[in-house]
């Protein structure tokens, strides 16, 4: 069994009287691509926010490779090796594609900006203003900004949102390939079950801020309560 690289323990996030996360504990092992699924409002994005340092949490701890990073801000967590992408495309519209990937590489003291752009088919767009490239290209750019510097853990919040089915599957294949090639552990939130089942080695199902079930995709997808409540009968 490989070592735990990311560990959240007893994570609780309260908005007024509503608990978006209720005593959630999650352990992600090195090399794993873990899917985080559940209906809207289950707390998936909140969990990603809490782990990445975007949202404060009321209780709990976050550890990266055994080091407690609960007190670190988003920037410090990124430099410690925990990167993320966003549900909505989150890039620098007025910079060129190349400028911003190099900017991210410089922050991470990495020299793999060119390699990342090649891998994500962004190299031909290097001199284009990011706001002017297609939506699909912007999604890959968002991913490139997170991947550059080879983080140890990558948190992805709906990377395929807004993409066509073909684009989503291409992205899924690319993600699986890059995660293996660059040894990046991935925790991915995604509504597109084709993407989830194509790349994930394990799944965590969230419901109303609590973990309902965890396990390999082939087991999770046949659990009656999961099929009925979250996945829909068509995927079973």
């Amino acid at each position: 069994m490989s070592e735990i690289v990311l560990e959240g323990t007893g994570l609780t996030r309260q908005y007024g009287g509503f608990r978006a996360l209720d005593d959630v504990s999650i352990m992600v092992r090195r090399g794993e691509i873990r899917g985080l699924i559940g209906p809207n409002g289950a707390g998936k994005s909140t969990l990603i926010d809490v782990l990445s340092g975007r949202g404060a949490f009321s209780r709990g701890t976050v550890k990266l490779e055994g080091r407690d990073i609960s007190g670190l801000n988003a920037r410090q967590r990124r430099l410690a090796g925990l990167a993320r992408s966003f549900q909505r495309t989150n890039i620098f519209g007025d910079l060129t594609v190349g400028e911003q990937v190099h900017l991210a590489a410089r922050a991470a003291e990495a020299e793999n900006a060119g390699e990342v752009m090649e891998a994500l088919a962004l190299a031909p767009l290097a001199d284009r203003r990011a706001a002017d490239v297609s939506y699909g290209d912007q999604r890959r750019l968002d991913l490139a900004l997170a991947l550059v510097g080879r983080p140890r853990v990558l948190l992805l919040d709906e990377p395929a949102a807004g993409l066509t089915m073909q684009e989503s599957l291409t992205l899924a294949a690319l993600l699986r390939d890059l995660a293996q090639r660059w040894q990046v552990t991935v925790l991915i939130v995604e509504h597109d079950m084709d993407v989830i089942f194509a790349i994930c080695s394990s799944l965590t199902v969230l419901h109303l801020g609590r973990i309902l079930v965890e396990g390999p995709p082939e087991q999770v997808r046949v659990m009656p309560e999961v099929v009925t409540a979250y996945l829909g009968s068509s995927v079973a």
């Binding site: 990445s52 975007r54 430099l79 890039i91 620098f92």
Partner: protein, 316 residues
């Protein structure tokens, strides 16, 4: 040589020839004042361009610098040369420290805070008569020589125009180089998406405070030139209307290009003079023109010029 380098050099040289070509002292006086205002507008525009934030208080740094020159030279606190350096450095330091506190506040609230700070300087100079002679203003007792040049160089329109023009060209060249550096790219990234900048690993407050300090320093340099040229300052140089005018200049010129606000200042100053000859209600003409420019040329005069140059196929 590329056009993007050749054109500015030609422009800078053409400006330097103006005193020899313009026979009217009145027009040279006007042009000198326009270049001083261009420097102030460049500071305001740089803040908008790099930080995406609007300051209504740059007259505070302009006027503070002018008063530092006047107070230091009149009271013989330090040498005039040191007073000039102090007049640029102190507003920069003040803006940096102030920026660390107020740049966390976004939008209109930030603009109002800058306005409040500048107005507090205005009130200070207005009411502290023992220090600065209130609304009567005060003269700057400048020495016969400054930085090795006779003081007349700084007070004669033709020569002062050249001093101000050279300073403006150096500032514009410096800002252009800065905009092409890592710092320039980083500050544009922060302007575009501060949260993402943090998530790729950057501290975001410090670069924004440095931009604010730099823009304040440029406004302060304009204030120094104003004080040297006029050798007299009144609280009007700290008043909010000057900050507003500088912002109007930046809007007219556009902030996409670093030189846009400076162009806007020259247009504004000359237009104000022409409109002032036509009617005492010239601010109404300026206001109407601003509305037309904002609607028809949202990128300002510089943006429209660049678009025209691109359309003509000239490599920038």
């Amino acid at each position: 040589m590329k056009m993007r380098v050749l054109l500015p050099l030609l422009f800078a040289a053409a400006g330097a020839l103006l005193p020899g070509l313009v026979g009217s002292t009145l027009l040279m006086t006007l042009l000198t004042q326009a270049v001083i205002n261009a420097m102030l507008a460049t500071g305001v525009g740089f803040m908008v361009r790099q930080n995406g934030m609007v300051s209504f208080g740059h007259a505070g740094f302009f006027g503070l610098a002018a008063y530092i020159v006047a107070l230091c030279t009149t009271n013989h606190v330090v040498t005039a040369e040191f007073a000039v350096l102090l007049a640029v450095a102190l507003p920069m330091l003040l803006a940096f420290l102030l920026g660390l506190a107020i740049l966390r506040i976004a939008g209109v609230a930030f603009s109002m805070l800058t306005l409040a700070v500048a107005q507090s300087f205005y009130e200070l100079m207005l009411r502290w008569r023992e220090l600065a002679n209130g609304d009567d203003g005060m003269a700057a007792e400048l020495p016969p020589r400054l930085f090795g040049a006779g003081i007349a160089v700084f007070q004669t329109p033709e020569s002062m125009f050249l001093v101000c023009w050279a300073a403006l060209m150096v500032v514009l060249a410096g800002l252009w180089l800065l905009s092409r550096s890592h710092f320039g790219t980083l500050t544009i990234a922060i302007r575009e998406n501060e949260e993402r900048a943090r998530f790729i690993g950057y501290e975001t407050l410090l670069p924004r405070a440095l931009v604010y300090a730099l823009s304040a320093g440029i406004a302060a340099l304009a204030g120094v030139m104003f004080a040297l040229y006029n050798a007299f300052v009144t609280p009007d140089v700290l008043y909010w209307s000057l900050s507003g005018e500088a912002l109007v200049m930046a809007v007219i010129g556009g902030t996409k290009a670093i030189w846009g606000p400076a162009l806007g200042a020259v247009i504004f100053f000359l237009f104000k003079d022409v409109a002032g000859d036509l009617t005492e209600h010239w601010p109404a003409i300026i206001g109407g023109t601003l509305i037309v420019v904002t609607v028809l040329l949202p990128r300002g005069a510089s943006g429209s010029l660049l678009a025209l140059v691109e359309r003509l196929g000239v490599r920038r």
